[in-house]
């Protein structure tokens, strides 16, 4: 899962943190949690799509 965690950190930082401040504020934290859920949704969808294609 290391690769997944690394990619999510990079992608969600880019989407959620525009100007890095002195701490993660609550809206940034919410955005990161949501982004993480969507990234995993997308991962599952990609996995299903690819699986059905190569069968």
């Amino acid at each position: 899962a290391q690769e997944l965690l690394t990619k999510m950190t990079e992608k969600c930082f880019k989407k959620c943190i525009n100007k890095p401040g002195t701490s993660l504020d609550s809206s940034e934290q919410k955005c990161i949690a949501m982004c993480m859920d969507r990234y995993m949704d997308s991962w599952n969808l990609v996995s299903r799509t690819y699986s059905s294609r190569i069968q």
Binding site: C35, Y39, Y50
Partner: protein, 66 residues
């Protein structure tokens, strides 16, 4: 080993199609985004097959890289 390769492919597709299809992550994947991701993966595979086959044909004809 094959499973690792499969997972590596999914990471690559997901990273690529995320950048293509996700503007701002929302409360769920809406159907438009789902369609975009599915089509992105399918067309990426099509593109890869098209290029691989065409490249194989070129090699047979002895052309391509010099």
């Amino acid at each position: 080993k094959q499973k690792a390769q499969f997972q590596a492919q999914i990471h690559e597709f997901n990273s690529f199609c995320w950048d293509k299809c996700i503007e701002k992550p929302g409360a769920k994947l809406d159907s438009r985004t789902e369609t975009c991701i599915t089509n992105c993966v399918e067309r990426f595979i099509d593109t890869s097959l098209l290029i691989t086959n065409r490249f194989a044909q070129m090699l047979e004809k002895g052309g391509g890289m010099h």
